[in-house]
Subunit: 361 residues, 2 copies
């Protein structure tokens, strides 16, 4: 058993309206049933006319590029400097939405195909119907990834085979059930194709021979590889998520949590704000039958009979600025509790207490 990875040279420059099936079949008369074609998305885009005109340079080029990028963007995932990582309308997370200025005239940008799975299906169908070839087709592109330097080629679209090889439920020779073995084989095939394309010059199509026993249609295509953002532990850049946390802190909602908070967790939140609150403020965690949990802010030494709160050693009458600062400290504590998943509500002080406010959590 062996796999072969073969280049398809001789395709030449592809332009709008070109017939990719004819170009590939003409350049690779040696194609066989069961071959997997790895087709660089750029020639698919060019054939499909996914090009936009832009100025060759200057600020006008950058502005127009930004406008094009916005159109290709479903949501911004992360930015740093000029780098913009976005989720495209297909669901792919890519730098600059996969917009490419290489291997094209300086006055044009190449966008990703509108529906790379459909592009792959159309090419597979054309090769089958017009040339009698039963092959699988992968539309590939180059992507970066978190945590690892260097780019790899992966699949944007596929036809004629499933995107994933699923080993779940199988048992290894030691009797252990395999849990995490859904392999993204079309990504590995796209990368394998890149190895030979990268060794050659201007070869946009590679063939992997020996992998498939027989192509079969699979309606899901490469969409099976797109993880829904809600299921992704890295749906936002770290800086963006941190800023979202800060923004959430600004608008942290009033609401009593669904269950009494653990005293240890509350103590942890208090520890977070300790050292940055106004001098003399003490947060005391009290629990009783009336409220699920309450936090009263008290000052050591303040007479229990008093109905107001003075921070630190501030004398009566109450210093307004100190009360404002105390309110800020309570909000600090609310955000520290929110970081631990604990909702809270700022309430007027219980009558007859030394507090000026109460947090219900």
């Amino acid at each position: 058993m062996r796999l072969e990875i073969l280049p398809v040279p001789g395709i030449g420059h592809v332009t709008e309206g070109d017939d990719l099936a004819a170009l590939i079949a003409g350049a690779a008369g040696w194609l066989r049933d069961g071959d997997v074609l790895v087709v660089t998305s750029k020639i698919v885009s060019k054939a499909e006319g996914r090009l936009v005109d832009v100025p060759a340079d200057g600020p006008e080029r950058l502005a127009e590029r930004d406008r094009v990028l916005a159109g290709e963007t479903a949501r911004v995932v992360a930015t740093r400097g000029a780098t913009r990582i976005v989720q495209t309308h297909h669901g792919f997370v890519m730098a600059s939405a996969g917009i490419d200025a290489s291997n094209v005239d300086k006055t044009r940008l190449v966008l990703l195909p509108v529906d790379p799975d459909a592009s792959a299906r159309a090419l597979r169908a054309a090769l089958r119907d017009r040339y009698g070839l039963d092959v699988a087709v992968i539309v590939s592109d180059t992507m970066g990834r978190p945590w690892r330097n260097g780019l790899t080629d992966v699949a944007l679209g596929v036809a004629g085979m499933p995107a994933i090889r699923d080993h779940r439920g199988e048992v290894d020779p030691y009797g252990n059930e395999l849990h995490l073995t859904q392999m993204a084989v079309v990504d590995e095939l796209a990368g394998a194709g890149e190895l030979i394309k990268g060794k050659c010059d201007q070869v946009p199509v590679a063939v992997v021979r020996g992998y498939l026993d027989a192509p079969r249609d699979d309606d899901e295509g490469a969409r099976a590889l797109v993880r829904d953002a809600s299921l992704d532990l890295f749906s936002l850049g770290t800086a963006e998520a941190r800023a979202a946390g800060l923004r959430a802190a600004a608008t942290v909602a009033d609401g009593v949590g669904p269950a009494p908070a653990e005293p240890a967790t509350v103590a942890g939140a208090i520890a977070t704000v300790a050292g940055v609150v106004a001098p003399g403020t003490v947060f005391t965690h009290v629990t009783d039958e009336e409220v699920r949990a309450g936090l009263a802010a008290t000052v050591p030494g303040w007479p229990a009979a008093a109905t107001g709160l003075v921070l630190g050693a501030a004398p009566t009458p109450v210093d307004r600025a100190d009360l404002v600062r105390f309110g800020a400290d309570l909000q600090r504590l609310r955000t520290a509790l929110a970081a631990e998943g604990i909702e809270s509500t700022l309430l007027p002080p219980p009558a007859g207490t030394t507090a000026s406010a109460t947090l219900a959590i």
Copy 2:
């Protein structure tokens, strides 16, 4: 030109102390100079004795597994439910630090090799010195990745070739300089090896033939693929980064920003907190020569001569609870400003104003 991907069957079970070079040379007498060996890290780990004993099941197994995971963890990147994604001491970001319970006795766990680059170098050297074979060696493992479903095999270690093929500085046929073309070819080679391993049963070594013209030593190894967390836009999970933002909000430092804040950015922060602040509170952005920027909170209709602040329609004397709530609102505003990168300081009110506090930004 073509590449071939060949399986190396017949290696059998590997145990501690086994001589991998002898096993591979014995199973693949057909190896040639220039071949790239893709060796599953698990057999490297087993040969190197990177195994730990654990109970076969029950809570004791989970507890011991957690203890082992902690030892392999340099930092926790993201968690959800039982999933723990960590950065290992090598710098790899992997679920469960790459600890594996498959293809091993139920009472053992397999850890990653201590230094996969060194493992690759040792195997390359042994095959060269003892068998006269000049090959490159990749130590591979299976990893998940953000944004895309399915796993792929990538390189943990490499010897005999650089990890990255660098096209930077080259010019395409249209005269565009190639900027982003550092290809992680060892990851693509690892994935290509997985394609043939996955088609066979229990084949831990694959060979890619035709890719290398000649092996050459490269001291950096697969460490070149490890991106430093400080340079990574996704160094933390989204939930973890968001919680970090909330925690930061709780302890947002007093400090006047290095430059006057843009009025539009301040207006954005005010818009963030609008709707959640106490009724009647109005934040007014004022700038003058005395302070770089100041935000005074005022209440419409309050006499300009007054030296205190009453929120909404609260009558004199000032209601303490309202002042506390006003302080909380100021802290909301501070965190909204912090989310925009604007530092601020809560100050006592300017004398003779209607405010009870001032934010300097």
